[in-house]
């Protein structure tokens, strides 16, 4: 509570930030409470549900599982940084077009996990897609259309269509 504040420097969605945080503060709380980036959701705060997934240096990380200070000097992308200038990312577009989204609460985390996967592996097998989003719980749509949408996006990004 009364812990001293420490300096945090990081890049979020391409923009540099310098702020003072308590050492105990989680990255998810900096994103949501300090930077007002509420697209990153909080489901469990125990690293179980994946709703808070962001990309750190391109990799999928649950932002409730890291202290904000652990992101010091790193490049963070949250869901707000995925679309560019009003144009949806192919993963987002595929999820919309394919009807993958229901309540939408897991969607930002799902997009971030898929984005990290396709950055690393442009041609994933179905098993690799399933593995990439295994940390992202969904509660209502059954995963089928999410998995298919990610496959459609991968093809689109490879210029397959």
């Amino acid at each position: 509570m009364k812990g001293e504040m420490m300096e945090l420097k990081l890049t979020v969605n391409g923009k540099p930030y310098e702020l003072m945080v308590k050492p105990k503060t989680l990255l998810v709380d900096v994103l949501r409470n300090e930077l007002k980036l509420t697209g990153t959701k909080t489901g469990c705060r125990t690293s179980s549900c994946g709703a808070c997934t962001v990309n750190i240096d391109g990799r999928a990380v649950r932002s409730c599982s890291v202290l904000a200070l652990q992101a010091n000097g790193h490049d963070v992308v949250s869901i707000e940084g995925v679309a560019s200038g009003g144009k949806l990312h192919p993963i987002q577009q595929a999820m919309v077009d394919h009807g993958a989204i229901e309540c939408g609460f897991c969607t930002p985390g799902m997009v971030m996990s898929a984005r990290a996967l396709l950055n690393e592996n442009p041609k994933p097998t179905r098993e690799e897609v399933r593995e990439a989003i295994q940390g992202n719980l969904c509660a209502d749509e059954g995963y089928v259309k999410y998995i298919e949408a990610i496959e459609i996006a991968a093809e689109e990004m490879r210029g397959g269509k």
Binding site: K41, F105, T107, A139, D140, E141, G142
Partner: protein
Amino acid sequence: MGETFGNYSVIGKTIPRVDARAKVTGEAKYAADIELPDMLWGQIKRSPYPHARILNIDTSKAEKLPGVKAVTTGKDFGGFKWGWSRETRDEEPFAVGKVRYLYEGVAAVAAVDEDTAEEACDLIEVEYEPLPGVFDPFEAMKEGAPLVHEDRPGNICVEYHWNFGDVEKAFAESYLVREDTFQTPRMAKGYLEPPAVVAHWPDPNHVVFQGAKGSPYFPYRILARLFNLPLSNVRIIQPFIGSDFGGTKNDMVHCDYAAVMLAKKTGRPVKLQYTEFDELTTCLRRHPMWITIKTGVTKDGMLKATYVKAIADGGAYTRMSPLTMFLTGTCMTLPYKLPNFKYDGMNYFTNNPSSAAMRGHGLYHSRFAADVQLDMMAEELGIDPVEMRLKNAIENPEPGKVYETVNGVHVASCGIKECIEKVAGAVNWKGVKEAKRVEGDKAYAVGIAAATYNSGTKLSAHNACAAIVRICEDGSVNYLTGASDVGQGSDTVTCAIAAEVLGIGLEDIDLKRVDSAFTPVDPGSYGSRVTVLAGQAAINAATDAKRQLLEVAAKQFGVKPEEVEIKNKQVFVKSNPEKNMSWERLVRTACYETPGKVIIGRGYSTQGISLLGLADFSRGFGDIGTNYSFTAQAVGVEVDTETGLVKCTDESVIAHDCGFPLNPPAVETQCQGGSYHQGIAAALYEEFKMDKGLTLNANLADYKRPRAYEAPMTRVEHVITNDPYGPFGAKEASEGSCCSAPPALVSAIYNATGVWIKDLPTQPEKVFRALKAKKEGKKSL
């Protein structure tokens, strides 16, 4: 683009969801994303006992902590009691006399930040006198057991005793009679978004409530009664909702009461959000149930009679248990013809967190028991389970005719036979033996089951959904709905229905979600009621607006209004399409021609009630649904015969009769999700482990939920029956597959291994022990 159904401009084909873009970009605001200027944070003080008398609550130390702005206890609520219906108001916003389950709320604090509020809660001193408790219905029903509610003898929360036909005579006449007891687990609802709320009072006579509520007009009515405010002064603004599945997001939880009372006391906005632990230890759960079912059949496999005795753990308060027990009984007479039926439904209070509605509400318990038992009897009779289902299945009534069950349930459309045939065909079903395959330690098989669910659920009192279609002068349209889309896709289909009726595009319609200051009152999102009833409201409201516009067009064309039509934003005389104008021109003419019209269409649903009246809960007679969906499902499994681990395979098909798929991909995700998240989950993974009222696995690591790496790639086939009571023929989608998944899975395990698992979930240890017992020559369960 996927399949197209019917000959429509907007509906019956892939409709991108109206809210998908906001959700996929993170712009959609959920309750926890709301922040207001000068906002305080609240926290709940909870009881460390599952059953105890409260002797004293001392809040003085908490009040003195710097940063604390207000403290509230149950006494501030002036004896206010609430519940699911007027007769079942047995719960107070915060416990006053005694606590009835572990972590029940006893007080709450508002402070400048979350840490201070939490610290203040620790400073509240509560004196308790611990009491002995009851932790399952069998303890609760014992003579002399401690009473959860002193005025409820025997801890009986709900009981129904129904009898139709002559069950005993039918059993005596049956060739084969079998009795089995099945068990369903205590389960979490499964939504990811924990309850959250922000409340404020703009002035002492107006309250504004923004909470994660799938049925926002529950708090609307509850808060008016609590604060003795006119309904006009209660404003519920609905954020996006991260799923619901019944119960917790229908009515109230402690954080809702805390927010409104602390905001009133401080004059500032107050926000509370639950943690996963709060949610999993205190929020509503699916009832665990023990279902004893006795069924008699003829030699050739025709059902003669069924007697069901269901015993449920209702938890600490009544909540929706009367409805649960009704639903558990009522649909035993669907989807198969059943001439004699008896039901004893018993629900007991215990010192566990309260049980309530959950996706597949009620039917999931009893349809699981009945459909698995049907397979057992088919085997004893030497009849193929698919054939036995087809023999007993209710026929699709001729147009204009209605099938009536022995307990007064009316079915105007029934695609169950087609559903069963479709899944059997899709998995190339040739029989139980042929369904099995063994590779080393792995045994593979498929199981098939069938189910039903009521849609457009109708209850006593207010039932209508309503909508307002506001035509703006440039031709754009606002659709104001009282209905809530918690993810099921009703916002999209109701807007699509309005567009279809008006003859315009979906993109011309802008949806306004619930804000009770402007939108019409609505019962809520439960009982698969929204698409069916809000859909009719959409038709009626759009038709009303269109009628007003057609009058203007008729005058312009010099014809009668019924001679004019609007399609694809073109307004034309039906007999002479050369006479036409654009939609925009018509609207402009209507709005600008002196004195200028204001086109507002209004409509509400009548279908649910005008049809055949209401069900009589005490007799178990009559319709709870406006219409009924039918589902058949094939589930493939891989059973590890060494470890007992069961996985679903991609040999997974659902055929669903939703009457008419207004938005086919939405019907598909609803069926896939209903099956996997709340059906397969119950059958394979999920169960709260309890120890004297304490939830031992209250986190999503220890409480196993279904994940993507083992999700079956379930295919969905649409069965079209065009129900006469649904909007454009539609019925529900999703609760049906929630009910067909568990029996199909258990049947698949049997087909693979020869062991019946009758108590869910079929976790590896249970399967392992059953396999071991079978190997050692012991009789299967």
